[in-house]
């Protein structure tokens, strides 16, 4: 019989078969292992006798109160998370709605789209104007009917 098999069986605490007894009488290493294990085992058995501490008075009631407190705290935490989450969702929806409205609503500016620009440029009085006049940078002689800004007027008078 192999030593490791013998040693495995020794710790099981059951009655040792004859084969193991024979092995122990011829193998000093295994016999030594048995002796050492018996010492350890005796020490472990002695530990069984040590009396554990008792639960303090009202242990179960105190525990239940503590659990209730812990549950209340966790409920408050959960409510906070739910509330905060709800606000984040509302804010996100609001921003998304504003973006969608911004993209979909028509602009009030006349030159917002190329079509709007075309329709303005095709009007006869606008078509007759030079690009400078359209942009408002014309001189007073060439286009007297076009209003001139105050600064431009002052500059002409000084000349």
């Amino acid at each position: 019989m192999r030593c490791d098999v013998v040693r495995e069986r020794i710790g099981e605490g059951i009655e040792l078969p004859a084969g193991i007894e024979a092995h122990l009488s011829s193998c000093s290493a295994c016999a030594d292992f048995v002796r050492q294990w018996e010492l350890v085992h005796a020490g472990l058995v002695a530990l069984r006798k040590e009396e554990p501490p008792q639960a303090s008075l009202g242990f179960a009631e105190r525990l239940v109160r503590q659990m209730e407190r812990a549950r209340a705290v966790s409920q408050i935490g959960q409510q906070f998370i739910v509330e905060a989450g709800r606000r984040v969702v509302y804010a996100t929806l609001l921003v998304a709605l504003m973006l969608v409205l911004g993209l979909l609503l028509p602009s009030s500016g006349p030159l917002r789209t190329p079509q709007a620009a075309e329709s303005i440029l095709s009007q006869p009085e606008v078509a007759a104007m030079s690009p400078d006049q359209i942009m408002g940078i014309s001189d007073a002689n060439s286009a007297p009917d076009v209003p001139v800004s105050g600064n431009q007027q002052r500059g002409t008078e000084s000349k």
Partner: protein, 198 residues
């Protein structure tokens, strides 16, 4: 028996109430199992001052997880599993140094252990020598890896069968046997190392 009376809820009924969020229903379960859990935790960690706090944490963990209890194993076994896992984490955090025990033992204890090295068997020891061996084994166990400590405590101190240990640790019986053998070998090796080191 209390369980036989129709007006007193059975253990399963208390558990179901807890599962539906009734914290008060946990008190009778704590009353039933607290002694057993105190016993187990004390033998696993061997620190009197920490036992009550650990047991309290274990019961709180158990209540938090009670909805996962499916009545497949006994409630006591399920609770033991939580206790062992909690103590395992504790032991890993608080494991004592494996070398310091040589210097911690009293002179009396050292003399006792020296004589055990010469004694043929435990039966040949006197009272003082027995106490010294017990003290040394307790210290060796305190410095053993958490896995060894738990499996030896369950088998040798709590006197559970291999099958019960396997159920608590969620292992196969064959794995428990292998681990037990490894833990025993390590304890014997540590004892020999101590004896040779003297």
């Amino acid at each position: 028996m209390a369980d036989a009376r129709p007006d007193v809820p059975s253990e399963a009924e208390w558990i179901r109430r807890c599962q539906s969020g009734d914290t008060e229903a946990f008190a009778p379960l704590v009353e039933t199992y607290k002694r057993r859990i105190f016993h187990l935790v004390f033998h696993l960690v061997r620190r009197r001052e920490d036992v009550e706090d650990l047991v309290q944490e274990i019961f709180m963990k158990a209540f938090a997880a009670i909805s996962s209890y499916n009545f497949q194993s006994a409630f006591g076994t399920w609770l033991n599993r939580i206790a062992v896992n909690h103590c395992y984490d504790y032991l890993r955090r608080h494991r004592a140094s494996r070398v310091s025990y040589f210097w911690e033992m009293s002179e009396e204890g050292q003399r006792g252990i020296e004589s055990t090295a010469r004694s043929p068997e435990p039966g040949g020891l006197n009272n003082e020598e027995h106490l010294a061996v017990d003290d040394l084994v307790s210290k060796l166990l305190a410095r053993a890896p958490a896995e060894d400590r738990i499996i030896l405590t369950l088998k040798e101190i709590e006197e559970k069968s291999v099958e019960e240990v396997a159920e608590i640790l969620s292992l196969k019986s064959s794995t428990v046997k292998v681990r037990l053998h490894r833990a025993r070998k390590r304890m014997v090796k540590d004892l020999k190392k101590w004896q040779e080191g003297r």
